[in-house]
Amino acid sequence: MKISKELLKGSTAIMILKVISEGETYGYELVQQLYRKSQGTFRLNEGTLYPILHTMEKEGYIESFRKQSESGRDRKYYRITAVGKLHLGAQMEEWTAFTKAVNGVLEGVN
């Protein structure tokens, strides 16, 4: 099922941060993980992933470093910072409240 861009816009950054919080990763692997975890629902526009990562790095939520990947290639990895963890926690609380409210309205309509 294809999800509309407007719905995706608000949730992409939090999903990326969540995946990074589960373990350090690099760009291509991140896209694959997101695809797997969403059971094929989210096929992230790969080109726009890096501006999001760079913005989050600028804001201090993640940091980057270089290391060898499993395939033996040198890659730029990202890991979450302490500030990023705090931000993720706040965002997830907000998301939970939001989805609860929306579901409340939708179930009420049904």
């Binding site: 080109g47 890096y50 760079h54 395939s71 290639r73």
Partner: protein, 348 residues
Amino acid sequence: MFTISKELQSEIRRYSARIAYDIRSRRKREEVGREYAEHLEDAVYYRIVQCGMEEMDAFRDACDELGNVTKMQELLALTHNKDPLPMSVKVLLGLLCAAVVGSSYFWFENKIYRAYFVFILQLCILVLTIVLLIQAGRYLRALHIRRRAYRRLKEYAAQNGLIFIRRANSYRSIFQRTATPEWILETDTHRYILSLFATVKRRQELRLTDFQLYQYISVSGIRNMILLGAGAGAKTYSITSLGTMRSIYIGHTFHHGGQWGRLNVTLKLPKGFHLLPEIDWSSAEHPTKQNVRVLLLNPIPMKIFVLEHGRLRPSGDDDTVDGMRIWSASGLVSHLEGVRISGKHDHA
């Protein structure tokens, strides 16, 4: 460890460099380009090893998956290019300079009134010098950007077997509008006729209108404009709906109230609007190839709007206005690269 061929590695590096092209900092540009190159390598590797694709097919598919290059360039430029100094900081710096200049005079002169007069004079000279330097700096920047675009297109043409022709002075349009398309870029099937249009001020919005001068006259003073289209008929538009005005003087023969007459009037365009230049396209057109008229914005402004049929709409790279494609130099190269890599027909 599986490795891809040197030719493909080179293609990947070029493609990635193009994505990062609009990032001003050289260090950041190389870093981001490298990251995209590594991403493409992984994507290509996956397609070759897991899906059994051929190298170039895997590369094309990976590039498709990556998305629109122009969009990525815009996002990366927004993320990595530094914001200019805020106005408050500029004012403070200006006052500090003025204070230093003014106070230094008082160390040597005792006559207060003369000192004040000379101080103010020096301040004015300082401000004027700064303004002139800023203005000169803008033009120097525009010249530099134009030169870079020229080199880039020339190199791209040489690398890909295209024809690049310089028909007129490449820098004149920075200072005044020109009617002759300056550059031509030719593929096997298409001729891109490039007319250069410059926006010198960095943060300027560019507003284009497809009005032609001879089509508009002001009949009843400041309230209305009458548009005379081809053939009979007239429409009126309220000037106040178009915002702050600027004057252009024209003379025109018109048909009004059942009579022909001549009216010399002042035509008012909204502030900041640029009339699309009347360009002599026919002199540059190829007899057999498909001719694509291109308004090449270089330097490109922060935002572009188009006034069409009385409505203002946002515009940007890869738009069409008045029969012309609107592109920046990077946007044009992205379009050509997309056509080359995909192998599809160019629908420009």
